[in-house]
Structure formats: C-alpha cells, structure tokens
C-alpha cells in the first residue's frame, strides 16, 4: 500500500514540475499567480502522502493545514494587490 502512495507522490512531483513551467515562463503576473496556486494545492496533497508513507500522518496533517491556509491567504493578498496596482502587462 505504501508503494501505491509512493507512485502517486512521484506522479504528483511530475505535475508540480509541469506547473512550474507555467509559474516561471507564463506571460504576465497573473499566469504566474495561477501556476503558484496550482503548485500549492498539489503540495498539500503531497505532504499528506509523505505523512502516509512515513507513517506519521499526525505530524504532517498540521503542516498541510497551515499550507492550505497560507496558500489561500497568499492568493487573496496577491489578487488584491494586483487589483489595486492597475496595469499587469509584463
């Protein structure tokens, strides 16, 4: 069963790499924000999978919860900041 979660975790890492392309090369600030938000969502699941693989879910679940909160607040603050700044061209 741990092998299955390990394979899913490796696949999730590959998906994070694909999202990292959009976060680095994406045209404009907003595309990068969308890519970073997607990376944060995948990292949340990846942390829980690491907890299941290591057998210490009780520790990783709190880190995952904090990561979800930080991802949400960061995305919201970035949206507010970009909305106030006006032009987002480059």
């Amino acid at each position: 069963m741990a092998d299955f979660f390990l394979i899913i975790g490796v696949g999730m890492c590959v998906l994070v790499l694909f999202c990292l392309y959009r976060a680095t090369c994406g045209p404009g600030v907003l595309n990068r924000a969308a890519g970073i938000s997607a990376i944060g969502t995948k990292t949340l699941i990846l942390l829980l999978l690491m907890g299941v693989i290591y057998g210490r879910v009780e520790m990783f679940i709190d880190i995952s919860m904090v990561y979800a909160l930080l991802n949400f607040i960061g995305c919201l603050v970035l949206a507010k900041y970009l909305e106030g700044s006006g032009e987002v061209s480059c």
Binding site: L30, A34, A38, L78, A79, L82, V88
Partner: protein, 114 residues
C-alpha cells in the same frame, strides 16, 4: 487487501486523474481565463477526492477528522481564491481570447483567435 484500501485507491486515483487534467489545461489553454477555468474547478475536485481517499484509508480517528476539515476548508477557499484572482485580471484589462468566425464563400471556417 481490505475493502477500505480498495476504496482509498479508487478515490486517490480519481483525484490524480483530475490533477492531471487540470495541469494539462493549465499548460495548454490559450487564455488566462481559460487556464483558470481549468485549474480552479479541476484542482478543487481533485483535492476533495484525494483527501476523501486518504481519510477513508486512515480510518476513523482525530487525524481523519482533521483531513475532512481540510477538505471542507479547501472546498470553500479554492473557488474564493479563483474568483478573486479572476476579478483582478478582469479589472486590470487582461485580454480575453475570442474565437473568430471567418465566413468565406458560404463555407464556415473556424479560425483561431489571436
């Protein structure tokens, strides 16, 4: 193999499939709004399915309740973040991709956008 392991495997695999489609949409769609359309809904559903699978795998305990709490929070937070950032993009004047219809000699051709 227990029955809860099978249920967990099915849920996590379905969540991984939706993660894959969301990433594919984020990479391949032509517009910012289309990309956000793919990744907002796909990621929400994938997170819900994966967390449900992990909670079923872990059985009934405090950790499982915490996982369900994360799932409920993500179900509320992810559409809110998507809406906020798409509203910011719309007010900043992000260009919207339009599919133009080109009509030549009665034949209807569907041309790509910009």
């Amino acid at each position: 193999m227990l029955i809860k392991d099978v249920i967990a495997i099915v849920f996590v695999l379905t969540g991984f499939f939706f993660f894959t489609t969301a990433t594919l949409g984020l990479l391949r769609f032509p517009d910012f709004f289309a990309r956000l359309h793919a990744t907002g809904k796909g990621d929400t559903l994938a997170v819900l399915l994966s967390l449900t699978g992990l909670a079923v795998y872990h059985g009934f305990s405090l950790t499982s309740v915490k996982i369900v709490f994360i799932a409920v929070f993500m179900f509320l937070a992810q559409p809110t973040a998507t809406h906020a950032i798409s509203r910011a993009a719309f007010r900043c004047g992000e260009e919207i991709w339009t599919c133009e219809l080109v009509i030549e000699d009665g034949a209807l051709e569907q041309g790509g956008g910009k």
